[in-house]
Chain length 308, copies 2
């Protein structure tokens, strides 16, 4: 393969809950155009994205990294739809098929979290590693798991932020998740921190005792991610992690204590390089869409080649 084939020009759409970023790019250093749109009603937003795609030419794939939950099961009738969301008008909204028809090119579709994971694995904090996990800890807790360069999924996408961790002895706070109470998201996401302490995470002093409970819960997330067997590195981002510098050493220590030497591999033992902040910042989402598009193109090329 030539360098050119390895780096196709791709149209990428990060569809977020409040804004939508469209980029035309081959990678982080080759962004030919970037357009930001507000996410409003579906008809308005999708028409605006279509107008951007109409204006662009020469791209050979389209990638979409969407807020969720979404249907990523190609066997399902609602593949490529946003499924359930409180956002007005967006529940059961078809996104992928509509934009693919407009673009007329192979189209990849996944969650924004998996998009960010793919981008960090390709160009960011886990550059060159085929097997990684990306966890975003913000308004919610989302996890993207990548194995062999591809998202790990099947029936649906990961919702690992909702596993129920063992509690710190003596802590019986009910948690803030409307489904599960004290699942990981209900213990350690931004709204959980605010519900427990009355103070938003970014304003909570580093010596507040609630941070130990948050770090313990996130240590359990890391423990479980390590025991999937997949990640060679775990990237942690999101509003609770980014800028809260004291939290990284605490979650690393909580993970190491919890694993108790069980996975005796140097990658994991060296917690400072195993659990790291993201490197791509706000570009992770749209660049993830570029990876999703490039993978859809690669799959189409491979299947036509194999079928020839």
């Amino acid at each position: 393969m030539t360098e050119r084939q390895n780096k196709p020009l791709v149209a990428g759409v990060e569809l977020g809950g409040t804004k939508c970023i469209c980029i035309l790019a081959r990678g982080p250093d080759e962004i030919e155009d970037r357009v930001q749109l507000p996410t409003t009603r579906p008809e308005e937003t999708l028409s605006a994205i279509e107008a951007v795609l109409d204006r662009w030419s020469g791209f050979s794939a389209l990638g979409i990294a969407s807020f969720g939950p979404v249907s990523i099961d190609p066997h399902a009738g609602d593949y490529g739809h946003i499924t359930s969301t409180p956002k007005p008008g967006w529940a059961n909204q078809d996104v992928a098929a509509r934009l693919r028809r407009k673009a007329g090119v192979p189209t990849g579709f996944h969650t924004d979290v998996v998009g960010a994971a793919l981008a960090e694995a390709r160009w960011g904090a886990a550059k060159g590693l085929p097997d990684i996990a990306y966890a975003t800890v913000g308004t919610g807790i989302g996890v993207g798991l990548i194995a062999g360069g591809k998202p790990v999924d099947g029936l649906t996408h990961s919702e690992f932020g909702h596993i129920r961790p063992v509690r710190v002895a003596g802590d019986d706070w009910v948690g803030s998740c409307p489904y599960h109470g004290a699942c990981l998201e209900g213990l350690a996401a931004g709204p959980a921190i605010q519900a427990r302490t009355g103070i938003p995470g970014p304003d909570l002093p580093a010596d507040h005792p609630a941070w130990n409970l948050v770090a313990h819960a996130l240590g359990q997330l890391l423990h479980a991610l390590v025991l999937t067997g997949v990640p060679r590195r775990i990237v942690m981002g999101g509003g609770v992690m980014v800028g809260t510098d004291h939290l990284f050493p605490r979650v690393r220590a909580a993970m190491t204590k919890s694993l108790a030497g069980y996975v005796a591999l140097p990658e994991v033992a060296n917690a400072d390089t195993f659990v790291v902040p993201p490197a791509l910042g706000g570009n992770a989402g749209p660049l993830g869409a570029i990876v999703l598009g490039a993978q859809a193109l690669g799959e189409q090329l491979q299947s036509s080649f194999m079928g020839a």
Copy 2:
């Protein structure tokens, strides 16, 4: 592809802690030979396997499903080795490279649990499903996760039996895992049941209150497996599950209660068909080795075709 190419003749080796089963087969209904050997010292056992391979001819791949932990990371220097084990002589023992040299054919290598998962997905209780989980609950708790027909792994293989679940309120038993105390294996494997109650699992009466605690822990395993996003079905086997008929309804109920409607997909909602016993019995391991061999052959054919 012809039917013949889809079903190559494969030599399969299930290397267990006490016995080793070698089969020459295309599938469960086409087993041409089956040889059982005791697992003793490595030199004796591996030489006996080599003698079996020498006697067989016409197979185009070799698959090995081994007791673990094993190194399945092709980037690692110890790939294909059993890594750490209390079994005398077997720690750091090369298995895959030695048998591959003898067989001279493409060779697949993984854990016995992943082997059983692949076999159940191909021919057993999850027949035809590309994305499944297999959990064995016996002397330990092992998990095999299969996505797109292939094992989910990366740095190492899954050790999901050692995640730490939330506890039942009021239960503060320390658990029996030498690493983690009250991880899943330390709460719900056979030795944990015996340590807590003084009675081996198979003999514990169905109305013993400890079963509720075991079912809760296993419900947390299912909760976490569902939230990986992968399985379309979960097969549960092993000495604690098989024959303990009252346990399946309990673990299904514990899973459903814990998920609390969060993954609202019909596959999961119908717990009776989502969580099922295995179908292949003692043949799951050696048949898993056949799948591993066939996959190694497929990968070699694909890479030579793509490189042509």
